[in-house]
């Protein structure tokens, strides 16, 4: 890697996500955020490396572990934090919460909390683009747990059968909640699964932000020039529990500690410093900016207002015009 501007951008993205989510955990403990809260800590390189490859005309569909994807798709941290606080200034008006962040203007189709349910939707978005002659990519993020669902197989099959421009981004963090990948999948080579549907596939080191960036670039380029779907596996790891309710009985602390040695932010920072792409003052500036952004987001969420219960049934059906 030789581009300091890109290095700075990638590191900035990862640090913004990490600091935002650390604050989310704190706000959860303080009772400001409730419900389920699924943190992405450890996996930041995937969203940071991949999302910036997409253009504003492309679409993004994500899972319930989607704070990073929302933020890096361009949603203001203020609107994300306000959503988690249940305030009407939130990006889903307080109706969605942590698992259902949306932004129509940025073509961010959410926060889907049914495992694999976003895959058919993304395939349908791509179907419409192909039908209407638009050269756009619909990127769908999901965990390796989704691969056991029928929706994965049905979507992969139809995407290839009809040559739809959908990018399947599998964030393989090795655990479907608490079930390790080798306890849930007979075939651990996920690209082989894509291959069985004739979908071109790549596997990338999801702890290395530049590897994620490069793989995403290749996949998007393939779709834009050749049409048809693409499957990308990002091999990553979740440092924190599945959600705030998870006592982590299913994995050893040693295993987590070993993966933490590959912390994508720490390793990339060291690399940037060693290669002279960034100086210590650059890293410090990134941290300071992220801290200020997080503080502003919390202030905004705190100052946000609660919707009146008089409008409880709003947004169930489209109002008659």
């Amino acid at each position: 890697m030789t581009d300091p501007a890109l290095a700075r951008a990638l590191l900035t993205d990862m640090i913004r996500v990490r600091r935002m989510e650390e604050k989310c955990a704190e706000m959860y403990s303080a009772g400001k955020i409730r419900g389920f809260l699924h943190l992405y800590v450890g996996e930041e390189a995937v969203a940071a490396g991949s999302l910036r490859v997409l253009g504003p005309e492309d679409a993004v569909v994500a899972t319930y572990r989607e704070h990073a994807h929302a933020l890096l798709r361009g949603l203001p941290m203020t609107a994300i934090m306000a959503e988690m606080f249940g305030k009407q200034e939130g990006c889903s008006g307080g109706r969605g919460g942590s698992m259902h962040l949306f932004d129509a203007g940025r073509r961010f189709y959410g926060g889907n909390a049914i495992v694999a349910a976003g895959l058919p939707m993304a395939t349908g978005l791509a179907f419409a683009d192909k039908q209407l002659g638009r050269n756009r990519v619909s990127a769908c993020y999901f965990g390796e747990g989704a691969i056991a669902e029928g929706a994965f197989h049905e979507s992969m099959n139809m995407a290839e059968l009809w040559q739809l421009p959908v990018l399947f981004c599998c964030e393989n963090n090795r655990y479907a909640m608490g079930t390790a990948i080798d306890r849930e999948l007979s075939q651990l080579d996920l690209t082989a699964k894509a291959g069985s549907y004739r979908v071109p596939a790549l596997s990338a080191d999801g702890m290395d932000v530049t590897a994620c960036h490069d793989a995403m670039g290749e996949a998007v380029e393939h779709i834009r020039t050749r049409g048809g779907p693409f499957f990308l596996e990002f091999r990553t790891y979740r440092f924190r529990p599945h959600s705030m309710f998870d006592p982590e009985l299913y994995r050893d602390k040693d295993e987590v500690a070993k993966w933490r040695e590959h912390d994508p932010i720490v390793t990339f920072t060291e690399r940037c410093l060693a290669e002279g792409l960034l100086g210590p003052q650059d890293v410090e500036a990134i941290e300071q900016a992220a801290a200020a952004e997080v503080a502003e987001a919390v202030d905004y969420a705190e100052a946000g207002t609660l919707e009146s219960v008089d409008t409880l049934t709003r947004d169930v059906m489209t109002p008659a015009s």
Binding site: A59, G90, C91, S92, G93, G94, R95, G96, H100, F102, D103, A104, Y109, G110, G111, N112, I114, A117, L119, P120, M121, A122, T123, G124, L125, A126, F127, A128, D129, Q131, L132, S138, G150, A151, E154, S155, N157, M158, L161, R314, D315, V316, M317, T318
Partner: protein, 332 residues
């Protein structure tokens, strides 16, 4: 002009596709096969494989594709062969299509129409004959239609395709061959129930495949001097309470006829609404004619015994008048 229910569905799809390039049909065997119930016969030839899409047997997947396509500028009609098979797609319909607008704070509406056959009467046994309209009518965020006439088979589907939100259309298998003399087929509204027969002694409330049975029962009852209103609900969600209560206030006696099972049936919901809104208008307990609590059997006599039939409706209406059995003018 004699038109069948089947050809009305066909013409609604064809006319909608001619009028709007965004409309397309996808589902199992809708193209080359012509549709399981032949409702889409010939459409592939007119509109081509870009707009009439045979899908793999992937109900969950292709309903979800319909949702994504609807979100991104198209007006898909998804055909799911029968309501039994729609259970494979229930997640996409309930957890995504119906919920998306709400959980996105009003940002994403899903203008998707899902058509499916429903109901029994053709000896197709327990995995092709069920009526589960009430499951869908339970769900906020979708509109549920049950056209029972040829005019509505055309008209409601056309209007459903102008809805900004998901619409589920139930076509009872027993109706496809029914026919009517109609000068023209036109879009019909999808908000109100319809009074199909005007009487003064009792109200029969029904929808879909049970409408012809209810009309038959009403004619038999009329011969004995019991003159019935017959309400065709047409729209199962949202229910048209006003039309129901207006009739109850006129006749004071009600039987609800519904091909779903008694337990948790739409008939139960309608009965509750009448009790809530017009209890003091009632001169007799509300009667229900629903399907006997058994998976639909294959043998013809058993299937018939399980389902609402005109005789059962006649008996239920008579029971509203107690042991003396007869109601004449002014007796209500």
């Amino acid at each position: 002009m004699k038109t069948t229910y089947r050809s009305a569905v066909h013409d609604a799809i064809a006319d909608a596709m001619r009028a709007d390039d965004r409309v397309l049909l996808l589902g199992e065997d809708v193209g080359r096969y012509g549709g399981t119930y032949a409702a889409s016969k010939g459409l592939l030839e007119e509109f081509g494989p870009q707009r009439i899409l045979d899908t793999p047997l992937s109900e969950l997947g292709f309903v979800g594709i319909g949702i994504g396509a609807a979100l991104n500028g198209l007006r898909p009609i998804v055909e799911v062969m029968t309501v039994n098979f729609s259970l494979l797609a229930l997640d996409q319909i309930v957890n995504t299509a119906a919920a998306l607008r709400h959980m996105s704070g009003g940002q994403f509406s899903v203008p998707l129409v899902v058509r499916m056959a429903t109901g029994a009467g053709r000896q197709l046994a327990a995995q092709h004959s069920h009526s589960l309209e009430n499951w869908y009518a339970h769900i906020p965020g979708i509109t549920v239609l049950a056209p029972a006439t040829v005019a509505d088979a055309y008209g409601m589907l056309r209007t459903a395709l102008t809805s900004p939100d998901p619409v589920i259309v139930f076509e009872h298998v027993g109706l496809y061959n029914t026919a009517a003399d109609l000068d023209s087929l036109i879009p019909t509204e999808i908000g109100r129930a319809a009074l199909r027969r005007n009487g003064s002694d009792a109200t029969i409330i029904t929808y879909g495949g049970c409408l012809p049975k209810a009309m038959d029962a009403a004619e038999r009852l009329a011969q004995d001097g019991i003159d019935c209103d017959v309400i065709d609900l047409r729209v199962l969600r949202p229910l048209d309470d006003a039309t129901i209560m207006e009739s109850v206030r006129k006749t004071h006696r009600v039987v609800v006829v519904d091909e779903t099972w008694h337990t948790g049936s739409l008939a139960g919901e309608i009965s509750a609404r009448i009790v809530e809104q017009a209890f003091y208008e009632l001169d007799a307990p509300i009667g229900r004619v629903c399907t006997v609590e058994v998976p639909i059997p294959y043998a013809k006599h058993l299937e018939e015994a399980a389902l609402p039939q005109p005789e059962k409706i006649v008996s239920a209406v008579r029971a509203l008048f107690g042991d003396t059995g007869r109601a004449g003018a002014g007796d209500g």
